[in-house]
């Protein structure tokens, strides 16, 4: 288990007074203090960790967010920003002495401009909500995390979330123009704007992916893109992981960048097939889902080329979708992968390391060995084009021993990712989950440098305390 810092006793002791102060700053319905109503906020997508916060506030405006932050800063109270709470790394996990600032009520779309291709939305608008607002005109917001029905753009910004289509369209950071940013002092700052590449330091880039460590985001200006004429997927199965990896290399080496290039190993194929009946080949050791875009003729041209490349690697089967419906069927299994694994094992940890793609066979072999060693099953989904690996480690949450093993297994996988030249997290963030592994990837002085940058924004370390940085070495935190 990862430890949380000792709550500040003076803050706990003043709980009632703090709630009363918050109720003066915000409308009555925006402050939550009763335990029963705090419970829905006690965890996020990393549900093995739970903590009831001191209070939850649900502001509706940037001004309200600013006044809460100003108050908390003046009174030394920690804050935990929260969007939809789907973080898989415990990024939105509360602390006992913290005020959770939830932005789900800031869910208005402020402006859509198709001519200049941007949308300005409040931080609590869901990821899919942006696309829904512009798809009638043929546009979309590109980063598409699998949690897109629930997760909010503010959370996406803070986690720099990716999706299945980021090989072509980039991750959140590559699709932003501006932010309304509120500092812990309650200052409201416009970062960027409706244009590309502001002159001066790249605050937009630094804040994106900063996991609530630097300030809060209340509005986001995103780029919206015109959708392609169409898209279609194919599936290619192979009898070894190595061969599937070599096929991926050959596709990329041919100069084709598919919009999506997903890889599943045998346990994952089986889980997804049982769940979605997508017609996945159960005899294969590894399977690729490859999607291309364009007119029907262009799709045919690209899929022909890719089929030709895959054929050189003696696939055990290939299936090219003939229609949008068949494409959707191919994707159905992949999109439901987490749910499918959840059916086999109600509890699983979703890992998120990235590796150089050439290391895939070696890494999967090692993960297989560790799985035997720990006695825990694992299924692997992989964004093959960009090296982002999601091993799903299955365990039994009713058995503490099993959970500890799962955590240790996960840590070993992530350490391996770093050893082969990759990193701890490709898109889910460090949160609490990988906090103590940061020393595997960074030296102590490198971590101190990052801490100092945080201190430049948040001198008292009140913002999302106890996440991202190992506790030992953090200023202002008693472990």
């Amino acid at each position: 288990m990862i430890s949380l810092p000792a709550p500040k006793p003076e803050v706990l002791a003043r709980r009632d007074a703090i709630l009363a102060d918050l109720a003066r700053l915000l409308p009555a319905d925006a402050v939550i203090g009763e335990t029963l109503r705090l419970r829905p906020y006690e965890t996020d997508g990393l549900s093995a960790y739970r903590q009831i916060p001191l209070a939850v506030v649900l502001p509706r405006t940037t001004q309200e967010v600013a006044s809460v932050l100003r108050y908390c800063n003046a009174n030394g109270i920690r804050v935990v920003p929260r969007g939809a709470g789907t973080s898989l790394s415990g990024g939105a996990l509360p602390l006992a002495d913290a005020v959770v600032i939830g932005l789900m009520r800031m869910n208005r779309i402020r402006e859509i401009n198709l001519e200049d291709r941007y949308a300005i939305v409040e931080a609590g608008v869901t990821n899919i909500g942006i696309t829904k607002a512009v798809e009638g005109d043929g546009f979309f917001y590109a980063p598409d995390p699998s949690s897109q029905l629930a997760c909010m753009i503010g959370g996406n910004v803070m986690m720099n979330s990716g999706g299945a289509h980021c090989l072509k369209y980039g991750v959140t950071a590559n699709n932003l123009l501006g932010l309304t940013f509120v500092t812990i002092e309650g200052e409201i700052i416009e970062i960027g704007g409706r244009h590309l590449d502001s002159a001066g330091y790249d605050w937009l880039g630094l804040i994106t992916g900063s996991e609530g460590q630097l300030g809060m985001v209340t509005e986001v200006t995103v780029r919206i893109l015109r959708g392609p004429e169409g898209a279609r997927a194919m599936l290619a199965a192979f009898d070894s992981v190595e061969v599937a990896g070599a096929a991926v290399d050959a596709i990329i080496g041919s100069g084709i960048i598919p919009v999506a290039l997903e890889f599943m190993d045998k346990p994952c194929i089986h889980a997804c097939e049982a769940f979605a009946h997508a017609g996945y080949p159960l005899d294969a050791e590894a399977m690729l889902i490859i999607e291309v875009e364009g007119s029907i003729a262009e799709q045919d041209m690209l899929l022909d080329r890719i089929r030709g490349i895959c054929a050189r690697f003696k696939p055990t089967s290939m299936k090219v979708a003939e229609s949008a419906e068949q494409s959707a069927a191919i994707w159905k299994g992949r999109k439901g992968a987490f749910g499918a694994v959840g059916r086999i094992s109600p509890d699983y940890l979703c890992m998120d390391g990235t590796i150089p793609t050439g290391e895939l066979p070696h890494v999967l072999k090692r993960i297989g060995e560790m799985s035997v060693q720990y006695g825990l099953a694992v299924a692997n989904v992989f964004h093959a084009g960009d090296g982002n690996l999601h091993p799903l480690i299955m365990f039994d949450a009713n058995d503490a021993e099993s959970f500890h093993k799962a955590e240790a297994f996960g840590a070993d996988i992530l350490t391996l990712c770093v050893e082969v030249g990759g990193c701890l997290t490709g898109e889910h963030g460090v949160g609490v989950e990988k906090r103590d592994l940061m020393t595997k990837q960074f030296t102590a002085p490198e971590l101190d440098l990052q801490r100092a940058v945080k201190s430049a924004f948040d001198p008292e370390w009140l913002l999302n305390t106890a996440k991202v940085f190992p506790l030992a070495g953090n200023p202002k935190i008693a472990a």
């Binding site: 291709r117 950071a173 002092e185 244009h195 084709i256 041209m301 090296g387 963030g429 960074f442």
Partner: protein
């Protein structure tokens, strides 16, 4: 000039550490090709990365290349071309603009976050920086990012240093994402009466499903196009079949905007190289050059005000969102640029100017006070002695 150009990272870090101890400011540069960019640096000594050269890791199938900061851009381009790959952001070659006789270095281009026409579709230079090694103003070596395409581990100092013009650290090695070079390039040229119509045509092109990877407006046309007067140009880069198909569709879609002609192959590529390097701007050697970034629909008003104020020479890229401006290197002209950027809700850079102008005006927009305070604290963290490029970006 007193230049030191160490050939190892450790030696370079040592130089910075000594400068820090002595509180002796350093001008940081690669080959110094962009010395005239932004403000003149107040430093008696120059520290150059020009001898930190060489590609250290290149994995074409992993779409990544790593090189030491002093490696020249043409050397990297050549290595990429051997594998039919290219820089994603299409960084400009500013030799002509800055009267430099050497090619730029990787470290310089990343430090200035320079991106060309492809920025509009594929992102800026900083979007493709996967990892860095750098030296702080105290002489400490640090890394951020790595070599993989997706990485959200810790604060992204790669982004912070890209575009920081050497004021927050000296880049010693950069790892970049690269992409396959397209098989074919095609361009449509649309003769338009004015900026507003030109930008509208480019917006229509960028709002089409055809993947336009370049969208510029040349005010005086271009010889290669055989058109004079304002000409909007839109580029498609893809497989040959796709380029042919998409240009045909786009041509039909854009017909209402003006007379259209089509260009393929080498002439199409050469015109985009010219746009990338801001040649059609037609800046005279004594002119100052500015870059404004605005929402494209603001471009018509902004350019009109600049023309009225000082007869600005103009070129637009990024669908009208990037306005290149040339004009007299005088405070009055600079004031007009600042005003136009502010009125458009955008941003400006005094890109090239004689020291007499650059030293006496803000070369970038002022930051709001709370942000300026954060910036000072960040600077104090990475360069507590203030030895790295003092005065480069702001007084």
């Amino acid at each position: 000039m007193n230049i030191s150009a160490p050939d190892t990272e450790e030696a370079l870090a040592g130089e910075v550490a000594r400068a820090h101890a002595a509180r002796e400011p350093l001008a940081i540069e690669g080959r110094g090709t962009k010395r005239a960019m932004l403000r003149p640096v107040q430093a008696a000594r120059t520290l150059s990365t020009r001898n930190l050269t060489g590609i250290t890791l290149y994995r074409p199938t992993e779409l990544m290349i790593r090189a030491r900061a002093g490696t020249s851009i043409p050397e990297i381009e050549a290595a990429l071309a051997e594998n039919n790959q290219q820089f994603v952001a299409e960084p400009p070659d500013l030799r002509v603009l800055f009267g430099a006789d050497e090619a730029a270095t990787l470290g310089g281009v990343v430090s200035a976050n320079l991106s060309g026409p492809r920025r509009i579709m594929w992102g800026a230079m900083r979007d493709h920086v996967l990892g860095i090694r750098a030296v702080t103003g105290e002489g400490a070596i640090f890394r951020s990012g790595g070599r993989v395409l997706k990485n959200v581990t810790g604060l992204d100092l790669c982004k912070l240093l890209s575009g920081a013009h050497g004021t927050l650290g000296v880049l010693t090695e950069v790892t970049l994402k690269v992409l396959p070079a397209a098989e074919a390039t095609g361009t449509l040229a649309i003769r338009v009466p004015d900026v507003a119509t030109g930008v509208a045509a480019l917006s229509a092109a960028l709002g089409s499903p055809y993947g336009v990877s370049g969208a510029a407006l040349l005010m005086e046309g271009h010889d290669a196009l055989g058109m004079d007067g304002p000409v909007a140009i839109a580029r498609i880069e893809d497989f040959a079949e796709s380029v042919a198909y998409r240009l045909g569709r786009l041509r039909a879609d854009l017909a209402a905007h003006g007379e259209i002609s089509q260009m393929d192959g080498a002439p199409a590529r050469s015109i985009w190289r010219a746009v990338r390097d801001a040649e059609p701007l037609g800046a005279a050697p004594e002119d100052a050059i500015w870059r404004l970034s605005v929402a494209p629909s603001e471009a018509a008003r902004a350019t009109e005000s600049l023309r009225l104020a000082f007869g600005a020479k103009l070129m637009l890229d990024w669908g009208g969102g990037l306005i290149w401006v040339a004009g007299p290197a005088r405070e009055q002209a600079h004031g007009a640029v600042m005003q136009a950027a502010a009125a458009a809700g955008g941003t400006f850079t005094l890109f090239r100017a004689p020291a007499s102008l650059a030293a006496s005006v803000p070369v970038l927009p002022e930051e709001p006070l709370p942000l300026a305070a954060i910036a000072r604290r960040v600077k104090a963290t990475l360069d507590p002695g203030g030895v790295l490029n003092p005065g480069r970006m702001r007084v």
